[in-house]
């Protein structure tokens, strides 16, 4: 059981995900979106941002499978590229949030004392303000655009990650193997990276999957409200906002991005649930704690 048990480590998680129907659907949906986003340049027949005055408000069919919008842009192409935009921005933002959150959480848990107090107090005050409000403040001060959006998300979501990862790290830090490392005189980075992180990686992974869906929803909401992506970026939220007054004329211009967004978010949620279950991370505790 020695070497084989170790080699079976990852496949065991994969097997347990495949056993659950909802988790399989979740990962399937995410994978589908990733593939569509990667293949967007191949699948899209038209440029997603160039206007075509000769093809305004076309009905679905022929060269435009889903029709065109008021500026004559192909809806299918925009939706496909919208997936690229949604995935890259939300995954980048989530990666920054989780990375930063994990590092700060590790330091807070390791040093404790005033540093920990300071970090948790700041967190409490950030979490006390409604997310959308702090987002609007950031956007109002720095203007709109992708990077401002990512920065705003970092401000809003890092706190939650810190809380959860800090709790997980505090559970590992008093263990004897960490004490052994301290007694050897190991530095803080060694202890956090080599002794603590491997034991909380499951929590961090689930945190990533869960936050990704929230971040995506938030980016789309902001774009819809006009604070996110600037036109003519092919963003799903922006597409819905641009075309909602013409729903009766070109329904697919709003329905296509909505369906895309909904399936990706459902996929991410189911996937993170499945991941949490197969890694044995208690998500109820996560959300409450």
């Amino acid at each position: 059981m020695t070497a084989t048990a170790r080699r079976r480590g990852l496949p065991r998680v994969v097997r347990s995900i495949l056993r659950s129907r909802s988790a399989t659907i979740g990962f399937g949906l995410v994978l589908l979106h990733v593939l569509l986003a990667l293949l967007a340049p191949v699948l899209a027949q038209h440029d997603p941002v160039v206007n075509d005055p000769n093809a305004v408000l076309q009905l679905p069919g022929g060269a435009y499978p889903l029709g065109t919008d008021t500026l004559g842009r192909d809806i299918l192409s925009r939706t496909l590229y919208g997936g690229r935009y949604a995935l890259t921005t939300s995954l980048t933002a989530t990666a920054i949030v989780v990375l930063l959150g994990t590092v700060i959480a590790g330091l807070a848990a390791f040093y404790g004392g005033w540093l920990d107090d300071l970090i948790t107090r700041v967190l409490d005050s950030v979490l006390a303000v409604p997310a959308i409000l702090s987002l609007l403040v950031v956007v109002t001060v720095f203007g709109s655009g992708t990077w401002v959006l990512i920065m705003a998300i970092v401000v809003v979501y890092t706190g939650g990650v810190i809380r959860i990862v800090r709790a997980a790290a505090m559970d590992v830090l008093p263990r004897d193997y960490v004490t052994a490392a301290r007694a050897r005189g190991e530095g803080v980075w060694y202890i956090l990276a080599r002794e603590v992180l491997p034991n909380i990686l499951d929590v961090v992974l689930v945190e990533f999957a869960m936050r990704a869906s929230w971040v995506l929803l938030l980016i789309s909401s902001l774009s819809f409200l006009g604070f996110g992506a600037n036109p003519p970026t092919p963003d799903w939220g922006l597409m819905v906002a641009e075309n909602r007054s013409l729903m009766a004329l070109v329904p697919l211009a709003t329905v296509a991005p909505m369906v895309s967004l909904a399936t990706l978010i459902v996929g991410l949620n189911l996937a993170s649930d499945g991941l949490a279950k197969s890694l044995g991370v208690d998500r109820m505790k996560e959300i409450v704690g």
């Binding site: 004490t179 007694a183 005189g185 190991e186």
Partner: protein, 598 residues
Amino acid sequence: MTAVVEIKDLGVSYTSGDRRVDVLSEVTLRLERGDVLGLVGESGSGKSTLAGTLLASLRTSSFISSGTVTVEGQDVFQLQGRKLREFRATRVALVPQNAGAALTPTMKIVDQLAEAFAKEGLASRQERRARAEELLKTVRLPNPAAALDRYPHQFSGGQQQRIGIAMALAARPSVLVLDEPTTGLDVVTQAAILDTLSRLQRELGMSMVLVSHDLGVIDRMCTHIAVLRDGRIVESGPTRTVLSEPAHAYTRGLIASVPRIAVPGIPPSIDGTDALTVREAPTGTAKVLEVRDLTVDYRHKHVPGTGPTVHGVELDVHAGEIVALVGESGSGKSTIANVIAGLQRREAGTLTLSGATTLEPTVARRTKPVRQAVQFIFQNADTSLNPRRTVRNAVDRPLRLFDVRGRSVEKTLAEVDLDGGFAERLPGQLSGGQRQRVGIARAMAAEPTLVLADEIVSALDVSVQSSILRLMDRLSREKGLGVLFITHDLAVVRAVADRIVVLYLGRVVEQGRVDDIFGEVGHPYTRILLDAVIELGDDHDAAAPARQDEIPDAPPEHGCAFASRCPLVRDVCRVETPPVVPLSPTHTIHCHVVGAEQ
């Protein structure tokens, strides 16, 4: 006479993948009214599983593969739903190992007890209180009337265990199942609880099933004994017969491997391959550690009437010497070890390494050679190794960090009798004894001069215990290693230590060579500790009744810390710090009374 409990050809199994694993097989036992049956065996022998079947309780994935368990004529595994709950509420009661954790933390003691006798239908609050108080009196909880309105965390471990027993007795069960009821407790408290239990058993005529790894406890309590190994009964019968004339080789090995105060030396291994080893104390070696006037204070502000946690501790460790630091839980043993390792700040005192280097208070301020020279071995082999890192990682790190030349992971593992194949394993793939060896290897990799061994054998089975003690003995001799061996187990101390330092509430009360401490004259506290030890083959009926008091929460501000429990106490003890009195060139005690008589 009809049997209270009858177990016939019992088998318990669980399935792992496609494999069926037998936890218990062909177990047949009978228990008459008033019998006390001891279940003995090493961890994994199935003794707790067997005890659980009396309450028709199995782990979720386990099932009965054969046989029956009958309690008072009732086949317990036929019971379901309400009938099963009624059966558990009235016939068989369980006292778990850690009763403190089994009590609901947010519920007052009176309400917890009232739940247990709810079926009696005591209508009024007064009646329920009276009954609860009576129960607490039966288990000799101090001040039972006041205890009713307190919460579980306000009691010590021993008191929580008493409350757990009271709850089990509340429904007047015919069988009481006790799963390692005194394992987490210190010797004085253990003796008191066992005393109470055997008195209750006699008075109430109950039958009991006692699970324990401690043969001394079994010998003290049980009329009958069943020795389990790999889920099978290897031997059973009346306790005295089985223990004095064991028929099975395994039972003989098990009995021989128990360390005893009466027998100096490390007991033989369970299969008899290693004989009894008596250590010889090194002579004339240099000091590797000198602790002077050490004081540690956990109090954030001065609390009137209390003193610092650790005060005025002085001790030496020489090269090649094993010095035992002995005391009950809360005596400050681990605090002292942490101070020496630089993990805990000290308020006062000097620590000198190898006669020359002064140890800085924190790890961060110590130089690399100093950190290398002092190594730690931990109690709990489960948490002392990182579950996600291989044995190689664990042992290799100190080799690299301290730039140790001429030593490899394989060589280090060989020193602790593990072959190189273990290097690629994860801690989860090792047994408890193997993990502890890796923990020792990690410390040895740094080639230390001083090792702090904190309760390193107390979580291990006796057979593994003696092999680890043997290893520590060999390493200390071969490498001239100074070992500060922290433990609460006096039999282990007798087996392996050269000198002993006895701590009480963070103060040294006595120190000397092993023979001095286990000799005739000594500090009253040490005498109480020694008297409380329950050993195999003692005359338990002739023993004096156990003391029912417990260690106070905090040391007093003035005088002798032991004054509040001392049988020889005088007025001066409560006022003045006791003097250090040499009883012989190697033996000192801190006492106003015994010292003055000499």
